[in-house]
C-alpha cells in the first residue's frame, strides 16, 4: 500500500462493491449471497485493522488524507481523512456490521436483499466517519438513512410502518435544520471543509465572517451563531438521541428485527455522537460553552430518565432500547463537560483528557455490548417464536446455561462491571467530569444506579426462578452460534482488562480535542 493509494476511499467503496455483488448473486440463492456478504464484511474488518496498524497515533491532525476538487462553485470537495476518532468509528461500524450478519446468518427471512442493504449501510457509515467536507459528509449521512429505513420497513415487526416513518421523519427534520445551518456558515465563511472551519473557529475568523456577511435584522454575530448552533445541534440530538428528541427510538428499535437493531444501535447511533465531536465541539466551541448549563441538564436527563423508563419496560427490546439512550448519555455528558472553562491548568487538562478518552471507550463498548444484547434477543426470539416479554420467561439458565452465561456476561459488561468492557469508559467519564462539574456527575450517578437496578431485575426475571413448562424444551446455543458469539465476548474481556488498545489509539485525537476547546 503506497502512500498515494486512496486507502480510505477504497475502504468506503469495499462494502458497496460487496452489496452489488450480493445483489447480483441474489438469484443464486441465499447461502451464496450471505457467504459473499460475510466475506466482504470480514474483509472490511480486516482492512480497518490494517489501517489501524498503519495509523500513527502520535501525529496530530488528519492522516491518509485525500483531497480532490469536486464542484468549487458550491464548496463541494472530495476530502477524506482519518484521525483516532474516525478510525475508532470505522472499527466500531465494521465490527458491528459483521456481528449483525452473524446474527442474520440463520434467519431465513433475511435474504440477499437484506444483506445487500446492510452492506450499503456500512458504506454509508464509512463515508460519514471519514468525510471532511460538509456536503460530502452529508451525502453519506443522508444515504445511510435509506438502507436503515428499508431494513426497518421491510423486515420489522407488526408496527414497522409507523416506526419506520417516525424514524425517517424525525431524522429528516434534524437533517434539514443541520443543512440550513451549514448553508449559512458556508455563506459567511465560503467553506464547507471541517478542517478549515475548525481553524477559523479557533482563530475567531468565523465569528468575524459571520458578523460581516450575515445581516439578519439587528442580530449580532453571537446571536446568529447561536441560532446556527441550535440548527446543527438538533440534527445530532435527534440522531444520538438526546432527551427530549428521542421519540422515534423506542419504537424503531423494538419494531425492527433485532438483527437490524444491532446495526442501528451499534453503529448508526454513533453518527450523532460523532457529529458532536467532529462538528459541534470544534466549530461551535463558544456556543457549546454558552449553552453549557442547558446541555449538561440535557445530558443528565438523557442518562437518568431513560434508565427509569427502561426499568418500567416489560419487553426486552424496549428495555435495551432505553438502556441504549442512557449509555450514549454518558458520552454526551463527557463531551459537554469538557467545553468551556478557560483554565489551561494541568489538572483541568488532564480531567478533560480523561473524560474524552472515556467517551471514546464508551462509544466502543456501547457498540459491542448493545449489539451483542440485541443478538441475544434475536436468538431468544427465534427460539421462543417472537416472544420477548420480560415476564414471559424465568429460569432460563436451567434450559439454556450457555446462552444465559454469555448473555449474563454481556449484561454485566453493559452495567460497567470492572474487568469488562463497560467499566473503563464509564469510570474515565466520571473521573473526568467530577473535577469539572461535580454536581452533574453526582446526578448522573443516579442513572448508573438505575442501570444496575433494571439489568439485575432482568437477570432475575429471565434467568432465575422456576423454569416454565413452555420453555423446558428450549435448545441451548448451537456450536456455530457459540463460535460466532465467542469473538465479541473475548473483546469484552480484552478491552475491559486492557483498555489501552483503544485509549492509546485515540490519544492524539483526544489531545487535539482538548486543545480545541480551550476557548
Amino acid at each position: 500500500m503506497s502512500s498515494s493509494f486512496p486507502s480510505v476511499s477504497a475502504l468506503t467503496l469495499l462494502p458497496f462493491v460487496g452489496g452489488i455483488a450480493v445483489l447480483l448473486l441474489g438469484r443464486a440463492g441465499r447461502p451464496a449471497a450471505r457467504l459473499t456478504a460475510v466475506i466482504f464484511a470480514t474483509a472490511a474488518v480486516a482492512y480497518t485493522l490494517l489501517l489501524w496498524s498503519r495509523f500513527q497515533p502520535a501525529l496530530p491532525g488528519m492522516q491518509m488524507q485525500e483531497m480532490h476538487p469536486w464542484e468549487p462553485a458550491i464548496g463541494l470537495a472530495y476530502h477524506v481523512g482519518l484521525d483516532g476518532l474516525s478510525l475508532l468509528m470505522l472499527a466500531v461500524s465494521s465490527i458491528v456490521v459483521l456481528m449483525a450478519m452473524g446474527a442474520s446468518w440463520s434467519n431465513p427471512k433475511q435474504g440477499p436483499a437484506y444483506f445487500c442493504l446492510l452492506l450499503f449501510l456500512e458504506t454509508g457509515l464509512f463515508g460519514t466517519f471519514t468525510a471532511l467536507n460538509f456536503l460530502h459528509w452529508f451525502l453519506f449521512w443522508e444515504l445511510s438513512l435509506i438502507p436503515a429505513f428499508f431494513m426497518i420497513r421491510l423486515w420489522g415487526g407488526p408496527g414497522r410502518a409507523r416506526a419506520a416513518t417516525q424514524f425517517f421523519v424525525y431524522t429528516m427534520v434534524g437533517s434539514i435544520t443541520l443543512l440550513l445551518a451549514f448553508l449559512a456558515l458556508f455563506l459567511a465563511s465560503g467553506s464547507f471543509d471541517f478542517v478549515e472551519l475548525t481553524q477559523m473557529a479557533q482563530t475567531g475568523q468565523l465569528a468575524a465572517a459571520i458578523g460581516q456577511n450575515l445581516h439578519w435584522h439587528q442580530w449580532d454575530s453571537g446571536h446568529i451563531t447561536m441560532f446556527l448552533f441550535c440548527g446543527a445541534f438538533l440534527g445530532f440530538a435527534v440522531k444520538t438521541p438526546v432527551v427530549p428528541f428521542h421519540g422515534w427510538l423506542a419504537s424503531a428499535y423494538s419494531e425492527a428485527a433485532p438483527e437490524t437493531t444491532m446495526a442501528l444501535t451499534g453503529a448508526l447511533s454513533k453518527m450523532g455522537v460523532y457529529g458532536f465531536l467532529r462538528i459541534l465541539l470544534p466549530i461551535f466551541p463558544e456556543q457549546m460553552w454558552r449553552a453549557r448549563t442547558v446541555l449538561l441538564w440535557l445530558a443528565i436527563a438523557t442518562i437518568v430518565l431513560p434508565a427509569f423508563t427502561a426499568w418500567a419496560q416489560t419487553d426486552l427490546k424496549r428495555m435495551f432500547a432505553y438502556s441504549s439512550i442512557n449509555h450514549l448519555g454518558y458520552c454526551l455528558l463527557g463531551i459537554v463537560a469538557v467545553t468551556g472553562s478557560t483554565g489551561a491548568e494541568a489538572s483541568q487538562v488532564s480531567a478533560k483528557a480523561a473524560a474524552l478518552t472515556g467517551v471514546m471507550l464508551q462509544l466502543f463498548s456501547h457498540a459491542i455490548t448493545a449489539a451483542a444484547l440485541f443478538w441475544f434477543v434475536a436468538l431468544l426470539a427465534r427460539r421462543s417464536g417472537r416472544v420477548t416479554g420480560l415476564n414471559d420467561f424465568g429460569g432460563l439458565r436451567r434450559a439454556m446455561p450457555v446462552f444465559s452465561g454469555l448473555m449474563g456476561i454481556t449484561l454485566f459488561a453493559s452495567l460497567g462491571l470492572p474487568g469488562l468492557i463497560g467499566f473503563p469508559g464509564e469510570f474515565l467519564i466520571f473521573k473526568g467530569v467530577f473535577p469539572l462539574d461535580w454536581w452533574a456527575a453526582a446526578l448522573a450517578l443516579l442513572g448508573l444506579l438505575m442501570t444496575a437496578v433494571f439489568l439485575l431485575t432482568l437477570v432475575q426475571r429471565v434467568f432465575s426462578g422456576p423454569l416454565r413448562e413452555r420453555w423446558a424444551a428450549m435448545t441451548d446455543l448451537t456450536l456455530a452460534e457459540r463460535c460466532m458469539l465467542a469473538p465479541p465476548i473475548v473483546v469484552m474481556f480484552a478491552v475491559g482488562l486492557y483498555p489501552q488498545v483503544i485509549s492509546g489509539m485515540v490519544h492524539g485525537a483526544v489531545t487535539q480535542f482538548v486543545g480545541l476547546v480551550r476557548y
Binding site: E71, L139, L180
Partner: protein, 500 residues
Amino acid sequence: MLAWTIYLSLIGAVAVTLTPEKSPVVARLTALLTTIAGLGIAIAAVAHEPSGQMTTIVRVPWMPRLGIEYHLAADGISLVLVLLTGIAAVAGVLFSWNVERRVKDFFALYLLLIGAVYGVFLSFDLFLLFVFYELAIIPKYFLIAIWGSTRREYAAMKLVLYSFAGSALVLAGMVAAYVVSGERTLSLETLAHFPFPAHFQMWAFPLVFVGFAVLAGMWPFHTWAPTGHAAAPTAASMLLAGVVMKLGAYGCLRVAMMLFPRGLDPWGFHVLGFGSWQEVFAALAVIGIVYGASIALVQKDLKFVVGYSSVSHMGFVLLGLMTLNQIGLSGAVYQMFSHGIIAGLLFAVVGRMVYDRTHTRDLGELSRIPLGRLIPFAAVTFVLAFMASIGLPGFSGFIAELEVLIGSWRAFPWMAWIAGLGILIGIAFSWRALQATFFGEPTTTPEQVLPPITLPERLGACLLLASTIVLGLYPRVLMNLILPSLNGPLFEQLRRGDWR
C-alpha cells in the same frame, strides 16, 4: 448544428404522418430515432461548447421592415434546457410505446411540441421566441384532449386558456418594449443592453414575468398544472411537467429578468411589508413551495400528488430566480433541469408503470394491490425517484435545492426556513404516496397478474435515473455551462452589488 434539433423534430413530425397505417411500430421507431438524434445533437453541443458563452447559429432577416430576424443562438442556459428537452423527449417516446389509438397523430403532435420547445430555448429574437412559444400550446391541447384521461376536455381547455392569458401579458410587454426602445428590433441581444427607463421597467417587468410565470406554475396561477398533468397521457404529462413548465421559467429569466432588471429594484415605499417586485414574487414562490406540498399531502389521486409536487418544485425555480445572486440563479437553472428529469420519472412510474396496468390511481385502492411484489422494477424505480424528488444528496435535486437555499439565505433568510419546511412536507407527501402505492398492506391477496415491465420502460427509466444521478454527483457538467452565461454580457444589467 444545434438548429437541427428543431428542424429534425419538425421533419420527424411530418415523417411520422407518412408512415404506413398498418404498422404502428414504424411510427414509434421514427419518433424514437428523431428524438435520439435530437438528444445526440444536444449532447454533442454540450461537449463541443463547454464554455457556455453565447454563440449564434443562424441570423437572417425575417421581416426587415419591422426589424424582426430569424435568430437562433445558444448560451449555456439554453444548452442546459436543450439537453433536458433531448432527454425528456427520448424518455417520453419510450414511455408511450403502448399508445395504440391514432399512433401516427400522437407522435406527430408529440414531435411538433418537441420542435417548438427546442425553438423557444434557441430563439434569440423575441418575436421568434413568442412564435415558438405559441406553437407549443396547440399540440399540448390535442395531446390532452384526445389521449387524456380524467376530465380531459376540461383540463385541456383550462391549460390553453391559462397559457393564452399568460401569452397576452407577454405580448403586451413585448410590444411595449419594441415601441419604447425605438430601436426597431426585437433582438434579445440588443434589448438586453438597452437602458429602458426605470419607471417603464417597473411595470413591464411584472407584466412579462407573470405572463411567463403562469406557465411555470407560480402560485396562485398554478391551477392549470395539476389538472393538466393528471389528465394528460403519460408522455404528455412528462413533457408538460418536465419541459413545458420550464418554458415559463426560462421566459421569466430570459425575457423578463434579462430585459427589465430594474423592475426588481425597490419601489421606495412599502405595501403590506413588501418593498419590491423581487420580494413579492419571492413570497409567491415560497407560498407555492409550501402550498403545493401541503395540497399534495392530502390528494387521493396519485397523479395529482405528483402534479402538485411539480408546483412545489417549480417554486424553488422561482425562488432561486428572485434571489438575484449568482448561486441562487444558477440553482434555479439547475432546478429547471433537475425537476424536468425527476418529474418525468415520477409521471412515467405513475402514469405508465402503475396506471396503465392497474387502471386506478386512487391511493386507497392501490394500497390494496401488492404492487411491490407484482412489479418490483417499478417499485425500485419509484423509490429512487422518491429519493431524488425529496432532494437527497447524490441526486440532481439536492444540488439545485442547495444552491437555491444558499441564495435565499443571502437574500431573504427567513424564506430559506420556510422553503426548508416545504422540503419537509415534500418528504411527507412523497413518503405517503410511496407507502400507499408500493408498501401498502394488501388486505386480500387476489392472484392478480400484471403485465411485466417492458423493455422500453426499463430503458426510459434507466435514462432518467442515470441523468439525475450523474448530475447529482458531478454537477460540474451543467455548472460550467450555467455560471459563464450568468456572468456573461447578456445578464450584465441584472448583476447587482452583492452578486456572488
